[in-house]
Every structure is written in structure tokens, then in C-alpha cells.
């Protein structure tokens, strides 16, 4: 266990940024999102939840896959280089880390997504415990521990370093080989701490006792698993539930686990850039094919999102849900809809068909 004072964090960031890219929560025009840190940016580790999750670090909202360059009648295809420089993502919360575990299941399964894999290989995650969890949080429902990002079996080996902010000091613990390397690189700024473990343990207890008090912590997932397709899909509950949905993509874009993307071409006037960008199952052109769309009504699109998170994903991934309980959709949905309301609505109707 190491320790660094809060006022020295700037020096720590500078040290890390010397040799690699540093991505951390940055406050810009009043909102905090993960972004590339440099001296001019304002790091903000106090905001519990960034607007977007940290998934951009590994799966950016838009990325070019290859460029076609036209020179007279000749066309050349230039693939985009894979990530080959190391980088650090600092300040991901336990839910975000779990989100990466979900993305791994999708992108690292065969066939491996090379762009994603390269980023995972070169990225070091410094996960931060949630000092003051908020009312929209429900990570415990999915077995995530806000106090300790390494406590969850699904996330083992994903966070490389765990840090806790206690009384103005940051306690630092390396969890993996990559974490050790990073610790080694910034060692001159860290001081070994003897009472660190005791302080961190007390902090963990405090966090866990707050989590117990949160309104959503005892949400029941009974009835939601990979076998629930028939029962849930045909339910009439969806018919009223989706009504306020605006069909915007806010929930999908702030979600740490939504992984759908679209691939499109951008005409640059002298060639084509083929890029992929996040897509949202809430959009009417989602999975548009030559014959049209699979899902033609907003009810179907709305249902798809939650069925995917709570039924289809667990069915294909050994029971792992693709919701991590970060509560971003709870906070950001313009119509105040969210996955919790969906779960509760089914509870209330007792799975009535």
C-alpha cells in the first residue's frame, strides 16, 4: 500500500503523462467526462459519475477503421494503425471497471476486435473507490462492490491499480503486473504507508454502509435471467412502459456496457474514410438492412434494450448481466425512464403476461 497527498496528484498526473497518455475525468464547460489530460485541463476526481462512462478509452464513440485514398484512377486502402502506445485510465469506478468486463466478453470473444484488443493491451486502469455513492447507484444489485473494484469475481484482473481517497490522501494498491509497472514508474511520488491498510479498510466499511442505505440497493432481479425470454418478451407490461420514451440515444451513449456500433463511410471529397461509431437500439435506423428494419416500433426497440441487458446477454455469457448498475441512465434519461423502473414494473405485475 502506497500513499500520495491530494495536492501532489497534479505532479502524479504530470509524471504519468510524461511517458504515456493519461485519460481521466476532466471538467469542461460544467460537465465532467473522461478525456485526455494535459496541463491546461481541469482534472475532476470529486464528481462521482462522469456523464459518459469511461468506455470511450477502449471503445471510442467514433473511430476510423481505414481510409481509401484516390489518386487518379488508383485507389489505395490504408488501414488505421492499432493502438501501440501505452496509456493510463485514471479514476474509473467499480461499475465502469465491470463495464469493461462486459465489453471484454463481446469484443475479445472470437472473432477478436483487434482495435479494442490493442487498446486493452496497452491500457492500464487505475480504479477508484466511490467515496460517496449516490441515490441513483445500484451496483450492489449486480454484485459489484463500490468500495473495492477488485472484490468482484467478474472484474478480477481488469483494474490494474486500486485507489482510495481518504481524508485528503490517495491510497494506492497495485493489483496486476501492469499495475506494478505503473507503480514502479511513479514510485518517486508515492510514499509507503503502514497504516494505509487500516485506513482503507475503514473507508471500505464506510462506503459499504452507505451503499446499504441507497434506495435501489435491494432491488430484486428475480425472474431476470437467460431463461426468461419467452415470459418477458411477450409481456404486456412493455406496451405501457415504453410510452414516454423519446427514442433518443442518451441511455445507450452514457451506458458503460452498450456496445452496438454502426459502420459508415465518410466522403472526404478525395477519398473515403470508413469509420465506426456508437449506435443506439433506440434509433429507427438501427440494424437497417436492405429489406428494412427488424424492429419497426418504438416499443420493440425499447424492449430490445432491456431484454438485451437482462436476458439475452446473460443467456450467452454464463449469467452475467450487461447492466452494471452505474445509474447513469437513471440520472440522464430526459423522460425519467430507466432500467430500474423496468425491473420494478415487472415486479409489480408479477410477470403477468
Amino acid at each position: 500500500m502506497y500513499k500520495i497527498e491530494k495536492e501532489n496528484l497534479e505532479a502524479l498526473f504530470r509524471k504519468i503523462a510524461e511517458s504515456q497518455d493519461l485519460i481521466l475525468p476532466i471538467k469542461k464547460a460544467g460537465q465532467t467526462n473522461f478525456g485526455l489530460w494535459n496541463e491546461e485541463e481541469e482534472a475532476d476526481l470529486d464528481t462521482l459519475k462522469t456523464v459518459k462512462s469511461g468506455k470511450d478509452a477502449f471503445f471510442p464513440q467514433s473511430e476510423t477503421l481505414y481510409t481509401v485514398v484516390r489518386d487518379g484512377k488508383k485507389l489505395t486502402v490504408e488501414p488505421e494503425a492499432l493502438r501501440n502506445r501505452p496509456f493510463v485510465v485514471f479514476g474509473m469506478k467499480a461499475c465502469d471497471v465491470k463495464g469493461v468486463a462486459v465489453l471484454d466478453k463481446v469484443f475479445l470473444a472470437d472473432p477478436v476486435d483487434t482495435f479494442y484488443a490493442a487498446r486493452r493491451e496497452h491500457g492500464t486502469i487505475v480504479a477508484m473507490a466511490c467515496h460517496e455513492p449516490e441515490e441513483s447507484c445500484f451496483c450492489k444489485v449486480f454484485g459489484t462492490d463500490a468500495a473495492d473494484p477488485a472484490a468482484d469475481a467478474d472484474t478480477k484482473g481488469i483494474a490494474d491499480v486500486a485507489v482510495w481517497m481518504v481524508e485528503g490522501s490517495l491510497y494506492w494498491k497495485a493489483l496486476t503486473g501492469k499495475g506494478e509497472t505503473l507503480t514502479e514508474a511513479v514510485k518517486e511520488l508515492l510514499t509507503p504507508s503502514d497504516d494505509g491498510q487500516a485506513k482503507v479498510d475503514a473507508e471500505k466499511e464506510a462506503i459499504r454502509s452507505i451503499v446499504e442505505k441507497l434506495p435501489y440497493t435491494h432491488l430484486s432481479l428475480e425472474g431476470w435471467d437467460g431463461n426468461a425470454t419467452d415470459e418477458k418478451f411477450g409481456s404486456s407490461v412493455w406496451e405501457t412502459l415504453y410510452k414516454p420514451c423519446l427514442a433518443c440515444g442518451t441511455c445507450t451513449f452514457v451506458c458503460p456496457t452498450c456496445q452496438c456500433y454502426d459502420i459508415k463511410d465518410y466522403d472526404t471529397g478525395h477519398g473515403v474514410k470508413r469509420y465506426r461509431c456508437w449506435d443506439s437500439c433506440m434509433y429507427s435506423d438501427f440494424t437497417m438492412m436492405a429489406h428494412g428494419n427488424n424492429r419497426t416500433s418504438q416499443m420493440q426497440r425499447f424492449r430490445q434494450r432491456f431484454m438485451h441487458k437482462l436476458v439475452y446477454f446473460p443467456a450467452n455469457n454464463g449469467g452475467m448481466y450487461s447492466c452494471v448498475g452505474c445509474g447513469r441512465c437513471v440520472e440522464k434519461c430526459p423522460s425519467s425512464l430507466n432500467i430500474v423502473k423496468v425491473i420494478k414494473a415487472f415486479e409489480k405485475h408479477g410477470g403477468e403476461k
Binding site: T64, Y266, T268, G269, H270, K273
Partner: protein, 147 residues
């Protein structure tokens, strides 16, 4: 600005010209052997009212340094009222572009009739000169369109 500097920067200028007056005006400029810089690329539209604000933004996106729209003089529109609507639209759009910080000299509207070949070439000369003085458009281009 010196001649050398001019050679380094060749602006791309898009001119939307209505079919009935301004395009004919450009023709007249040509047949009267009046010169205007080759940096101006004319796009013929049925009426100035056909110009969608998105056309103008797209032009900037793909690397235009200036966009000029030419139509019939108010009152002379082939479709009677098209240019009156266009006038309101462009006023608002240009004001918005100015509001978000795009230099206001990069956009212009000029009414050019089929008989005004001289005005057409003068306008284009002036406009190109203006764009030279403003330099490259960097505020509205899409970085992906750079080489």
C-alpha cells in the same frame, strides 16, 4: 497582401447561382470576356430559394473558404417570390454563422441579373479578394477532409 503569399493560398469559393438571372449573368461575363478568378466554382440552382442552409454548411465542411449566393434581383424572380424567402433565410443563417464565431466576410449574397455581366465579374473579384484577406477557413471545415 503580396503576390507570393497569394500563390501559397488558393481559396476555394463556391458560388450558388440561380438558373434564370445570375447564371446567365455569369455567361454574359464570360461572353463579354470579363475576367474573374478561377477560384470561384459555380453551382447552378433552379432558384436562389433552392439553396438549403445545409448546402452552405456542407460547402464549408468540405473545404470551401467562402460561399456566395447569387439570385435575381428582388421582384425579378422567375418564380415570383423565391428570392424573398431566400433573403430571409440567408440573413438568419449568416447571422447565426457570425454568432458562432465564423468570420462574416466568408458568406455573401448578391443579386445579379442576366444583363449584369460586369456586376458578376466585379462581385466575384471583390469576394475573392476578401477571402484572400481572410485566409483559409479553419473554423467550419471537417478535419477528416484534409489530405
Amino acid at each position: 497582401m503580396s503576390i507570393e503569399a497569394k500563390e501559397e493560398f488558393r481559396p476555394k469559393i463556391v458560388a450558388f447561382c440561380c438558373n434564370w438571372c445570375s447564371y446567365a449573368g455569369a455567361d454574359l461575363a464570360g461572353s463579354s470576356r470579363l475576367s474573374y478568378p478561377a477560384d470561384v466554382k459555380i453551382i447552378r440552382v433552379p432558384c436562389s430559394c433552392r439553396v438549403n442552409p445545409m448546402f452552405i454548411l456542407r460547402a464549408f465542411e468540405k473545404g470551401a473558404d467562402g460561399v456566395i449566393m447569387c439570385g435575381c434581383h428582388p421582384g425579378d424572380c422567375h418564380y415570383t417570390t423565391g428570392n424573398y424567402y431566400a433573403r430571409r433565410r440567408m440573413t438568419l443563417l449568416f447571422s447565426m454563422l457570425d454568432f458562432i464565431g465564423v468570420e462574416n466576410g466568408r458568406t455573401r449574397v448578391e443579386w445579379v441579373s442576366a444583363a449584369e455581366g460586369v456586376k458578376f465579374s466585379q462581385t466575384m473579384n471583390e469576394f475573392v479578394e476578401k477571402i484572400y484577406s481572410l485566409g483559409k477557413n479553419v473554423r467550419l471545415e471537417d478535419l477528416r477532409c484534409r489530405n
